[in-house]
């Protein structure tokens, strides 16, 4: 394990520094994706005809390789973190939009009727009734988006040391130090597991109102492939 945390100087960063950079590049896009996905999903719920085309567009965007994004974006945002984060944010939409739409649609009609009958306005009903009840499904989507984003950051190394822990991979080849590659992979995996566990914990703490036995069934997003499966798939791209 000697030299595990001893990084080449061209990275101009410590191991912890790279972890911080990696987390920032992975999580900011998820946050941005959530901010965009919430109103998009609300529009899709409101205007049903909008949902299939939106789903189609997000899927097509997801199919565009990040390298292609970089080629276009470099002219505008240069060799920066932003260039890495924009495609990552776009990719989260394919998971987050359906998760939020499913969540909001899962609110029972009689609950909505009751809210109307008690004199909730549309905005109050959205914020106080629909959104809270949709949170478990949204969190399930966030778990997938977060882990997937975490594994995708590494491509940033292609535009010059903007890949967080992924930068170790190029250095491993360059300096013939395979331990650096192991470091990169293991650290990314551990981060993914920790973040996923944190989101599960948030759900348990914030949602005492969900029947435990049926939690997995209630949120359709949970029925999707395990986050790790998607992460592996992304790493292969």
């Amino acid at each position: 394990m000697n030299g595990f945390f001893h990084l080449p100087s061209d990275l101009q960063n410590t191991w912890l520094g790279l972890v911080g950079l990696h987390l920032r590049e992975a999580l900011l896009p998820v946050l941005a994706g959530l901010v965009v996905a919430l109103p998009m999903a609300q529009l899709c719920v409101r205007f049903r005809w909008l949902y299939p085309p939106v789903l189609g567009v997000t899927t097509v965007l997801y199919a565009i390789p990040s390298l292609a994004f970089f080629v276009v974006l470099i002219d505008y945002t240069g060799l920066s973190e932003t260039t890495v984060m924009i495609p990552l944010a776009v990719y989260t939409l394919v998971v987050l939009v359906p998760a939020i739409v499913d969540g909001i649609r899962s609110v029972p009609q009689e609950t909505l009727d009751a809210a109307d009958a008690m004199g909730f306005g549309p905005l109050r009903r959205y914020v106080q009734v629909q959104l809270p009840i949709a949170v478990p499904a949204i969190l399930a989507g966030l778990r997938v988006a977060t882990v997937s984003s975490l594994s995708l950051v590494s491509v940033g190394t292609l535009i010059g040391n903007q890949g967080g822990l992924g930068n170790l991979l190029t250095d491993a080849m360059f300096y013939h130090r395979p331990m650096l590659a192991v470091n990169s992979v293991v650290t990314t995996a551990v981060l993914a597991i920790l973040l996923d566990a944190a989101l599960v914990l948030v759900r348990i703490l914030l949602m005492p109102w969900m029947p435990r036995a049926t939690r997995a069934k209630r949120t359709r997003a949970d029925a999707r492939p395990e986050p790790s499966a998607i992460a592996l798939e992304d790493a292969a791209r």
Binding site: P108, E110, A117, M118, G119, V129, P132, I133, V135, P211
Partner: protein
Amino acid sequence: MIRIDSVTKRYPDGTVAVDRLSLEIPDRSITVLVGPSGCGKTTTLRMINRMIEPSEGTITLDGVDIGKQPVNSLRRSMGYVIQNAGLFQHRTIVDNIATVPRLLGWSKDRSRARARELMERVGLDASLAKRYPYQLSGGQQQRVGVARALAADPPVLLMDEPFSAVDPIVRKGLQEELLRIQEELGKTIVFVTHDIDEAIRLGTMVAVLRTGGRLAQFAPPAELLSSPADTFVEDFLGTDRGIRRLSFFTSETLELTKSPIVSVDSSAEEIASRATPEAPYLLVTGLDGKPLGWSDPGDLAAGEIAADRLLPYGRPFEYGKDSLRAALDCAVLSPTGWAVAVDGTGRVAGVVSQQTIGEAIRSAHASGQRDEKVAG
């Protein structure tokens, strides 16, 4: 008073849900809207709190057109109870009940105190306050629904098939509870159901609607049973409306007899003197005056009572409190054809034969029809 004045609801596709409906819903009483599915009863209810806007006609509340009132404050002044309760699954029971007070701007503490008060009123244990809806049974959830509707003390309560999703025993309990609460609070309740039994049980006035949203009859339940307006209402009431109608007549008019009643310690001569051809069975009572069972004429001939060979007496009815329907039911269930009447403490007040009950029914019907003629 809620006044529905020739209201029509027509949807863009041409379907007419409610057709020129006019109703006057009296204050502080339960008005039931009943009818088959597609008769527009729920639509009518929802037009009262403007969840659906009428195409034609007006609805007034105490003389004010509800169409001219701000919709959210109108809704907050009317409690609404829905099938399956429609509770907020992400809020505790106490916070569910406190919803409307919070919307009205009450403080959190005051709203919760009020919510706890209502939990007691609807018969919910205080220990349930911090639970979530999924932890409650269907019947308990429905009680929470009623408490939530009552929270801001609205003068009007709208109930949309509130008890149809629970099992019959729980439903009966909830109906009794509603009648009890209504006696205490005296709200103006509009109650929608497809169950005619429920309508007759709860309603002060019952509006029967037919498919297509037209009013078939609007009358108190007893009148509905005695003189249905047409064959539709008659069919809807079912084949046993004659029997059902008996629940509106008191058993007080029955002439009870005490002659075929003996105590368990009676002498042989007394027993022999009591048995008659009209009443061959004798009812044996315990030393406390409560019924034990009917004694067989064959055993009586031997001049003594075989306490271990008594016939069951079925279910007794409470004289004066239960209806003629209950008395008739007791007589039908009794193996001897005689019904046992008891007083409030369960002691035998007398016995009555099916024949006597039949006479009482005939005279009750006759006087009932006279009353209606006077009222009409």
